[in-house]
Every structure is written in C-alpha cells, then in structure tokens.
Amino acid sequence: MTEPSLYDQILDFANRADPWPLYEKLRSQPVWQEADGTFVVSTFREIYALQHDPRLSSDLTNLLPEFAAKLPPAQGPGGAPPSFLVSDPPRHDTLRRVAMRQFGPPHRPDLIDKMAPALKAIVTGLIDNLADKQGADLVDDVAYPFPVAVICHLLGVPPEDEPRFSAWVDPIVNALARPTPEQLQARTDARQHMSNYLFELAQRRRAEPGEDMISGYLTDDGPDGRLEGGDLFSTLMLLLVAGHETTVNLITNGWLTLQRHPEVLQRLRTEPGFSIRLVEELLRYEPSVHILPFRTAVADIAIGDTTIRKGHPIAVMLASGNRDPEQFPHPDRFDPDRTDTVHLSFATGIHYCLGAPLARLEAQFALTQLAKRLRNPRVLADPPPYRPSPVLRGPIHLPIAFDEVCPA
C-alpha cells in the first residue's frame, strides 16, 4: 500500500487531537495535488487570494462529474436547492442578503447587540446549574447548550424541540469531508427529517408570526423578494446546523487552550475587556472550522508552480493558514497581545461567516464567565476525546473539575 498522503493523515481521526505538525508539513508547498484529484491549499496568502478569486466556485455543479459523484447530491431533500453557502453569485448574494435581512445590518442593525443581556443571562444560568457540583462536561453543560439556546431563540424554534436536532446535525456534519456511502445515506435521512420538522414549524409561524427570524422570513418582503420554498428550507437548515456546530467548538477549544495557558486564564479573570482580543487570538490559534472541503474552480488557477485544474475539488485549509509563519510571527505561540491579526477562521471574501458576530460575543461571554466563576478549574482529560469531523474540529466532551462555583 502506498503511504497515506498528508491530507489523508489530516482526515484520519488518529490525528484529530494534534493536526498542527501535519499542517506545518503541508505548508512546505502552498498547493498539493492529491492522487484522487483534490487540490489542497494551505498557506495564508494563497488561501486569502483564492477566496477573493472570482474563478473559485462554491457551486458543486461546477465539479467534473467524476468528482461530483462522490459527494452528497447538490439538491437537498424534496429537491430543496443548495444553500447560499454552496452557491455562487448572483444567487449567493441574493440569498445571503435576504437571510441577513432578519439577522443584522442594514435592515436589523442592532438585533445582535440588543441580545447581549440575554446572552449573558443564558450563560449565567448554565453556570448556575453547576453550583452544587465539582465537576462537569464543559461541552454538554455549557459550550453546547449555550449557542443552541441562542440560535433556537433567534430562529423561533421551541426549546423543547431542540433535543431532536442534535441527532440530525451530527450525520450532516460527519459527511462533510470524503464521506462513505453510508455516511451519505445517513446525511440524506437526517436532512429529510430536519426539513419535515422545519416545514411544520414554518406552518405554525406563518399562522402565528412572532419576532423571530423564521417569522420574518415568512412575512417580510424586501427588495429581493421573500425567502420562499426550497430556498427557505435550505437557508434555515444551514443556520440551524451552523448555529449548532461551530460556536460549541470555539468555546470548548478556547477553554482547553486557556487551561493550557494558566497565565492567560488569570488575566481573563482580572483584566476588563481582555476577552475581546483573547477570542480573536483563539480564533486564529484553535479555530472551529479547519477545512473548507467543497470548493472548485470555473477556470484553471495558477498558484506558484502548480495549476489548480478547472472542475477539480479544492480543500482550503483555513486552520493551517492561521499558523503560517509567513503571516504570523511565532505562529504556534498563543499570544493574545498580538495586534492587527487578520485570520481566516471565518473565511474571507463573499462567504465570510454570517454568524461571526454572534460567535464572537458568545465566546467572549462564556469564557469570561467561566474564568470568573469556576474556582481552581482543571481539565480531566488532555487531550480530550474529539468529534469525528476533521472539518469542524473540537472535543466531543471536555470533562472538567473545580472546587467551587462562585456566585455570578
């Protein structure tokens, strides 16, 4: 058997806890062509340029048939069209504008800002729940329920329905990079369930609209028209999955990093405003999204000595770019005092993460509260067990112990 490629090794679960040395090797060459035809791009400047390159496509129908066949079908359940995440302009721009209309500027500029007190209250409540304990699973007790409560509230999903989602979200996430046929089937089933659920929920919201985003999508006519039919469901599904699976990793990876750097954890307890820069450095150093596995090119793109071929899959290695020494001095040093950090953790260009402002606030609030309230916190398993996905990377559990929970 041939030696597995670096990319294979990165996808291999065995390397989930510490992919960084592999990324370092990967960066010795900005672009690698895999035996299966995939191009892997790993250096900061090349990733940055590529994501601003109008030859790069997010629309999977631009893949050559032999590559498209190995991926989930572009169409969702019931023929739902792909979400804006996997679309190109002008479709992407229109759908994203319509999605944004219920979420932020310019139409609802202060929605997220106004939620800050509610966000603080939710995380405070979750930590209150630990009051009589001396141990917890940071994932199950805080890092997961927090963003999930927030996204459900924003979208208007009843909290009691939430437990059903986690069962649907996991198979969707697990099919993100090089899925097996079984994983593909599980994904299709999960999306079908989710879409049925969302259909019912939309019926209810249409009958009785509230302040939430789903009601907004169902009732609000903007210059681009209303979000309807398949586009509505693919957008909602995207928001739900993203809301479930990204910030949880940011908070968990963040807490693990803080425990590995006690002096930084101590500063977080005492320095006001420190969480702002801290979270930015965490995003660079331990991002949630490591790979954008679903890109292709509508024309050949020459990068250095390599030419990315039209129609081939492209894996964009965001996390690797974040530790490129050409861009960041001492990239493996966790240093919240860095200034002018431009990182790739929310991607860059037109697909910049829609939920980034929410993720930032959630991580800032959660980590600050945890730091202030847990006395003598310890991580009980380092490295902790990781989730299967190499794309959305983070611990599946993070058992911790502490002496006491201080009052809020």
Binding site: H52, D93, G104, V342
Partner: protein, 536 residues
C-alpha cells in the same frame, strides 16, 4: 474617542456594524459610515468592533487601546545619528503628515519632530466632510484622526510655511519663525478650486468643501432647507453632495460640463450608469452643461445661469471643481514644483528644478507627483486617501534609511466613494485605459465589476457594490495581466466584450506595461521589468 476606518481596506463585512451599531452603520449592501467620535460609553463596543474587523481597517486612539506588549528594539535604530538626534520637519499636518510622523516614531526615530500646519485644528479626516457630516451623522469638528502612537512633536498649528531655503535647510513661517531641518517632508495637499469669478465666488451661499470649516457652514445651510442646491461639477465630491441633498430631501441640480458624472475618473461607460442612478433619484442632472454665472441680491446667491440657456433659482451652490495644489510657498525653493504638484522619485524624494533627486526633501500625499513604474514611469498624482497613507509611510521610512534600505512606493492606488447607497471602489489607474469590460455581475442590478484595459493589459478596475473582489483585480494590475481577463469567472455578465472606456482625450506617451510588481509588505514590494510585450 476617535475612530477612522481605512475604507480603502474595508470590504464591507459589517462586523463593526453588528457589534457597535450606534457607531457604525451599513448603507446599502456594503458601504460603511462611521461616527468618527463615538461617545466614551461606547468604548468597549468600539474596541470589540475594531478587534473583529476581518481586514483590520478600523483604527482607534492608542490611548483607548490596551497597553501594547513591549516591542523588540529596532536594530537599525542604533548607531545612526540621524535616527537618534536628527531634526525632521513636516509641513502640512493632515493625513499624510500625521501618518508619516507616526511611522517615523514607529521605526525608532528619536530625534526632534516639528509639525507645521496652517489649519488651527488637529489633523482630521476629510472624506466624512462630504458624507457623514452633511447628513448630520457626525459633527464637522469631530473628525480628528485617531492617534495611533505617541509622536512627541513640536506642533506649530495655524501657521503656514511661507518659504523653503535649501541652502540653509530652513523653512520660514508666516509668523516670522524659521525652523531648521535635516530632513523635510512636504505634505501640503491641495485646496479646493474656487469658482473662478471672484465676485460671484464671494456671494453668500457659494461653498467649496475641503476643510472642517467649509463643511460646517455648508451643513448649517443645508439644515436651513434651501429651496434648491446647485452642484457645479460631478466628480466624486459633487456626486456625493448630490446624493446628500437627495437624502435630505433638498431639490438639487447638477451642472456637469462633460457628458456624464465621474467621466474623468471612471470614463463614459461608468459615467452613464452613474447618470442613470442620479436621475432615478430625482436629481436634475444637466450634462454637457456649464455654469455661466452666479447671480446674487444683497450679496446673497439667488440664481444661476447655465450654458443650456436656462436660469435656475438657487440659494446654495457647491463648487466641486477639483483642487489646486498647495505649492506656492515652494516657489523659489529650487524644487521641481508646478501646478501639477511636487515631483519626486518612487522613493518620495523630491526632484530639484534640474530634475536631480534631493536627498533630504521628501513628498507625500495629494501634493506629490510620482513616477508609476506600472504605467510607463509616468508622473501621476493620486488624490486618494489610501495613497496619502502609503506614500507617507514609505516617505517616513526612507527619510531615516539610507541607500539600499530604501523602499519604492509601488502601491496600486485605490479609491472609494459612497453615493445613493452604492459603494463604488476602484483600483489602479482607470483613466489610463482605452477599453473597459464588465467582468462580473450585472450592471442592471448594480452589482458588478468592470476591468479597464490599455493595449491589451489590465490597468484598473471598478466595483459597484462588489468590493470584495477588487483585491483580485489589483493582482491582475500588478502582474500586467492580459485584458480582457481571459478566464471564466463566476457570475459572468451577459456580455463581457470590451468597449471603448470613453475617457476625455489626453495624449499620454508610453502607457505600456514595462514591469510586474511583486511582494506584499512595503519592505518587499519590487518592480521587475518585463521585456516581452504581453499580448494574447
């Protein structure tokens, strides 16, 4: 606190608008307006916005920032007497002047620094004067630029430099003082070109817009609900003012001598799009029309006579006819100065009248006229915010560096403007072009990018609400890439056949690509000559 957003860099990600909605506001899809002086209670939110900006375009005062980590001492700072105890004088204490001063200190200059500016106020930001300030979103007195670093300068404010003596290396000031220097930076910028008939220009109601004071009185007049405003000239400033009037609900007439707005900067094809937008918004746009005269009663503006034979009743006129370079004080200095500015080399060193490069006088900003290797080494002035900043930084670096440590200023110039909710950005030098091709998006939906070409290579690009793509076009310009760009792109327009760009005819020699530019940081930027003519 003070805030400035480098809108040349800003790609409209709206992180700031999400996190501090009181201080940052998105207009249309991707244009940003900011409050240059947000109240102190917003400090935490503004810092959150600044940290979150994906391109780090948002700048605040150093005093508002957390204490910076100790810096590694600059090796180069040691030894050199000029860096240690030299005397540096900067004349023109605005954007370029301040940025140069900050850069000098950042690079370890510890000598004396004198800042001479004829305006009474601190260095301030001008772009908001025709945007936020006129809309009432910011007060004209509140556009001071944030201080990114302690510069420890001797400030001479409200006093103009009147002469330069290069034999004794002194600058004379209007109040009789003389200031000696080892290195001088000239960054005196341009002033607004007034309406050429003095009696008419003096009428109450006739305004230009270049300074905080200009902006303040104009804003006051607009607040008094004039019956009609006349804008003379529809370049960027004139077009922005027309947009402001529409937003304020004030009837507005635009008199433009050329065939369309923005023709000088972006050509006739884009100009027609702009004209269409103006008219859609109810602007009374008169193209191919000149102002003949302004008429007043009791010293107040009442009427304007246009070359189309009509007379209109107006009580406010905004003269937006471009700028005049502030070089009069340099007459007799022996430098190469003229109406086109102060000529300098790519390292920002001024030329003397013989065309010899000086070694102690540097130039930056709107007043500079610099050869552009990417455009046949022609001397060009770039009256753009981003150019003032990058030129100032290169000039500052070179002032305290010698020989091979010096950098060329090889930035591809970029510009932005905000009109009628549209974010217009350009890179490169569109007026160089003979052709234009829409490359992405659709003109009809007003989301598009167009590339400009000259003799088969890309020399510029403009985006209309699609600014995130411009970095790609900047690379094409640096690489002297073929025009029209010969590859497929996403979101292809219905027709991407090149058409004439329709710039007013100016004879320009030698526009051919002679170089490609490589490198990212100013320290790495280099031009390499390409010998073979690029054609495809």
């Amino acid at each position: 606190m003070h805030v400035v957003v480098d809108l040349t860099k800003c790609e409209g990600y709206a992180q700031c608008a999400f996190l501090a909605p009181e201080a940052f506001r998105m207009v249309g899809d991707e244009a940003l307006m900011f409050d240059p002086a947000p109240p102190d209670e917003l400090r935490e939110k503004v810092l959150r916005a600044a940290a979150a900006c994906p391109v780090q375009a948002l700048q605040v005062d150093v005093a508002d920032l957390p204490a910076p980590p100790p810096v590694e001492t600059m090796a180069a700072a040691k030894g050199e007497p000029l860096r240690r105890e030299g005397r540096i004088v900067i004349v023109g204490a605005s954007l370029a002047g301040l940025k140069a001063a900050e850069r000098l200190r950042a690079e370890g200059f510890t000598g004396s620094l004198t800042m001479i500016g004829d305006e009474p106020d601190e260095p301030y930001d001008r772009p908001p004067l025709s945007k936020q300030v006129q809309l009432g979103w910011a007060h004209s007195a509140d556009t001071a630029l944030p201080r990114r670093r302690e510069i420890d300068a001797d400030w001479k404010r409200g006093v103009a430099a009147t002469a330069l003596d290069l034999e004794r290396n002194v600058v004379s000031l209007a109040d009789g003082q003389e200031v000696g220097f080892d290195r001088l930076l000239i960054s005196t910028g341009v002033r607004a070109r007034p309406w050429p008939v003095p009696q008419e220009a003096a009428l109450d109601g006739v305004f230009t817009i270049r300074t905080q004071a200009d902006a303040a009185v104009l804003r006051e007049r607009l607040m008094n609900k004039p019956n009609r405003v006349l804008i003379i000239g529809s370049g960027f400033t004139g077009s922005e003012m027309a947009s402001v009037c529409v937003d304020l609900g004030i009837p507005v007439t635009v008199a433009e001598a050329g065939p369309a707005p923005l023709v000088g900067a972006l050509g006739g094809v884009i100009g027609r799009i702009s004209a269409g937008i103006m008219r859609e918004h109810g602007v009374d746009l008169r193209t191919n029309t000149r102002l003949n005269s302004l008429r007043g009663e009791d010293g107040r503006l009442r009427r304007a006579q246009l070359s189309d034979g009509t007379t209109i009743d107006v009580d406010v006129a905004v003269v937006a006819l471009g700028g005049i370079r502030n070089v009069e004080w340099l007459e007799g200095s022996g430098l190469a100065v003229g109406v086109w500015g102060v000529a300098c080399d790519a390292g920002c060193r001024a030329f003397d009248a013989n065309g010899l490069v000086t070694d102690n006088v540097f130039v930056a900003g709107d007043v500079a006229r610099q050869p552009q290797p990417m455009f046949g080494y022609q001397f060009l002035s770039m009256e753009h915010w981003g150019n003032a900043v990058t030129q100032a930084e290169v000039a500052a670096h070179n002032m305290i560096s010698s020989g091979s440590d010096r950098w060329p200023h090889l930035e591809v110039s970029a510009f932005w403007s905000l009109q009628f909710g549209h974010n217009i950005k350009s890179v490169g030098v569109p007026p160089m072009a003979d052709q234009i091709a829409i490359t992405q998006g659709s003109v009809e939906s007003r989301h598009f990018v167009a590339a400009y070409g000259y003799k088969g290579r890309v020399v510029g690009a403009v985006s209309w609400n699609q600014g995130k793509w411009l970095g790609f076009y900047q690379q094409l310009i640096e690489q002297a890439a073929p025009f029209p760009p010969p590859y497929d792109m996403i979101d292809p327009p219905p027709d991407r056949t090149p058409v004439p760009a329709e710039f007013p005819e100016i004879a320009r020699p030698g526009r051919d690509a002679t170089v490609v530019v490589t490198g990212h940081d100013p320290s790495e930027r280099r031009a390499t000559l390409v010998r073979t003519a690029r054609r495809h």
